[in-house]
């Protein structure tokens, strides 16, 4: 029997992603050519032999469920355990930026009740990472902790407002957890919470009993408040984590995949990031194609020039098209003699012959889904 089950909160949304998250939660955002953000948390769990995973869905879950199906591509179409769809709370407008809403867990209490696992791993799905949860679970068991929070260290605070920072005592226990931005002592780096943690299942159920009736409460708020009464440990994660809270983050983290080191960290062959299989043909390069420093997915047809860009599945780049520094989502059609620079093209965008579209280098322009230009 497995000692842990997983829960992925995939109902978070944010206004900072402009049109990209208009029709989808952040979790369903296409990323890195052939993935959606959710794939990273989900694959990390599956690769860590967690066979029972609950995915908390947003109210508009079509794109998410289209992607997940019955969980087959993650080997979660199982008899024992498997993929569980946990419908999240339907909030009034403007409440969808909660990360670990307690109410979502209350609604799906049964998922937590009926399993026998001792631990629950909880992750948000607004970030890309490839993590082995075994050492985390081992530490949780060995320290006898109630809760182990995954953190990373950074010389600078993160951008964005809703990041939690941890203060650890000498033994590795978490002494404080807050959104504070006051600088730690000189020479000490910022320890930020990675929105991944493991908690005892029984404790989580107790928390639901005690606080479940309160509206709009984040699980992390409860944890922060009762930190001194719980045994809370920190776990340092050495791998790459790219958090996506804004258009700039999205663009930056996509482009980071052009670095061999980061690609190697995220796409380990022993721990592959799984995603929905489309059975696309291999990508075809025409006689006029010129492709440099780019990540290209299957099913593309390339006749033009592509540099420093990420192309998703089934993109067509016609002759005379120049693509530079762009993230192009699937099934976009880039017509003849067009120029595209510093752009994020959502799915099914058609750029017609002769168009010139340029965003600023550090301020990429977003073209929304199915736009015809």
């Amino acid at each position: 029997m497995n000692s842990a089950i997983g829960i992925i909160f995939s109902n978070m949304n944010s206004g900072a992603l402009q049109g990209l998250t208009q029709e989808r939660p952040i979790a369903a955002l296409p990323f890195g050519g052939r993935y959606r953000l959710l794939d990273f948390a989900l694959s990390s769990m599956v690769n860590s032999v967690i066979h029972t995973v609950g995915v908390i869905t947003p109210p508009h879950y079509r794109s998410l469920l289209d992607h997940l199906g019955a969980g087959k591509d993650w080997s979660l179409d199982r008899k024992s355990g498997g993929l569980f769809i946990l419908p999240g709370v339907i909030h009034s407008l403007g409440q969808y930026n909660m990360r670990f809403s307690l109410k979502d867990l209350v609604l799906n209490r049964e998922f937590l009740e009926k399993d026998f696992a001792r631990q629950v791993i909880i992750s948000s799905s607004d970030q890309v990472y490839n993590m082995d949860f075994h050492p985390l679970l081992k530490q949780q068991e060995e320290t006898g902790a109630d809760l182990t929070l995954v953190y990373k260290q950074s010389p600078e605070p993160l951008t964005g407002e809703d990041n939690l920072y941890l203060r650890l005592d000498g033994s590795g226990r978490v002494a404080a957890m807050a959104k504070t931005k006051t600088k730690p002592e000189p020479g000490v780096s910022w320890s930020y919470f990675c929105n991944i943690f493991v908690i005892r299942r029984e404790l989580l159920l107790q928390i639901l009993d005690s606080f479940g009736s309160i509206e709009n409460l984040e699980l992390t708020e409860v944890l922060a408040q009762y930190l001194s009464e719980l045994r809370v440990w920190g776990y340092h994660f050495g791998g790459y984590i790219g958090r996506i809270g804004s258009v700039k983050d999205y663009f930056y983290n996509n482009m980071a995949l052009l670095q061999e080191e980061i690609r190697g960290d995220l796409f380990k062959s022993t721990r592959p990031i799984r995603t929905k299989i489309r059975d696309n043909p291999p990508t075809r390069y025409g006689s006029k194609a010129q492709v440099k420093n780019s990540l290209i997915s299957s099913g593309c047809v390339i006749e033009g020039v592509v540099e420093n860009s990420i192309l998703s599945r089934g993109v067509v780049v016609e002759e005379g098209c120049m693509v530079n520094n762009c993230v192009i989502m699937s099934k976009c059609l880039l017509g003849r003699n067009t120029v595209l620079e510093n752009l994020i093209l959502d799915k099914f965008v058609a750029v017609q012959e002769g168009s010139v579209l340029k965003g600023r280098p550090n301020q990429p322009m977003v073209i929304s889904k199915k736009a015809v230009i």
Binding site: F267, P282, Y285, N293, I296
Partner: protein, 399 residues
Amino acid sequence: MRKKECIAMLLAGGQGSRLGCLTRNIAKPAVSFGGKYRIIDFSLSNCTHSNIDTVGVLTQYKPFVLNSYIGMGSAWDLNCLNGGVHILPPYMGEEEGSWYKGTANAVFQNLAFINFYNPEYILILSGDHIYQMDYYEMLTFHKEKNAEVTISAIQVPWEEASRFGVMLVDDSGRIKEFVEKPLYPPSNLASMGIYIFNWEVLKTALIEDEVDPHSDHDFGKNVLPRLLKQGKRLYAFLFQGYWRDVGTIESYYKANMEVLQEKRTAKFFEQKRRIFSNEEILAPQYIGEKAKIHNSIIGNGCTILGEVYDSVISAGVYVGEGSIIRDSILLPNSEVQEGVRLRKTILGENARICSHCSIGDKTQEPFPPQEGITVIGDHLQIRAGTIIPEGRNVTQDLL
């Protein structure tokens, strides 16, 4: 057990010796093709698209890769209740049992399997053809003609006709004469090795064939001519699409290169009838700063840092900086290190060419062997600086 209308028997047991070192370790239907597929994908996908949900795959020669690739058939949506893919190796009974002695004998040895599903019709397929075909249309034709056997046929160039079983037909499509690999072909209408039989007719024919001591137990050579002689109703179903037998190095190479032709690719890859495959989970391909790629297809998970022209690069391949690949086929997970020249070469799965080799160089020979195609077997390693002239087969490590 509910009765099935039509089930397929896929002949995948041949050694494929004409593919030389490509089939040293794996069965012919498991050889990869077209950058991401294995040859058997085409037949299995055709079954799925033709609503044939029960397929027996007759394996015998080096079946491990093939069997593990097929798995339970879920990659082709053939993992269904009451049907699905069945791997059928030869087996022992109380007193009988032997290797498959021929195509007909292979099916004969699995009478019990077919009886289990008790179909009306049996579709016999080969596991080594590249084509897209709707078997349902052929079955409709079979029923309309009230045929007992229907053979799928294609017009081939006259000079090639003697490689195939050829037939003479009358205006209605009924077969008057069938000869296997004739020296002087009476027609250029070739059998594609795809047959639909009424099960009762096939059962009787197989039992007759089994007791004939002079028979080679082959469909084309023995069973079909005998049925014709008995006056059974054999019809030819004319197929007009793309069809290639990839049984030899030359034809395998040519068919791969044909995938590079735009029209062909577009057709193969039409979303509606797309070819399914059991793909590995791989990241997108990375194309490096100094890479050049022209007129080629490239699979998932590749890292291309060098130059690739007119080539088929399968999934997971690495091409190092300064290497130049021309007119070649690189099979999955092969590796070409830095500064290598590769010309008209088929590089086997997981093979590794160390830096600064020169493979497939043109020679002075007016007619180099294998039309000048060099083949490097699966899992081989070629040490740095090796020079291999065109038309060679490399079957062991050169360290």
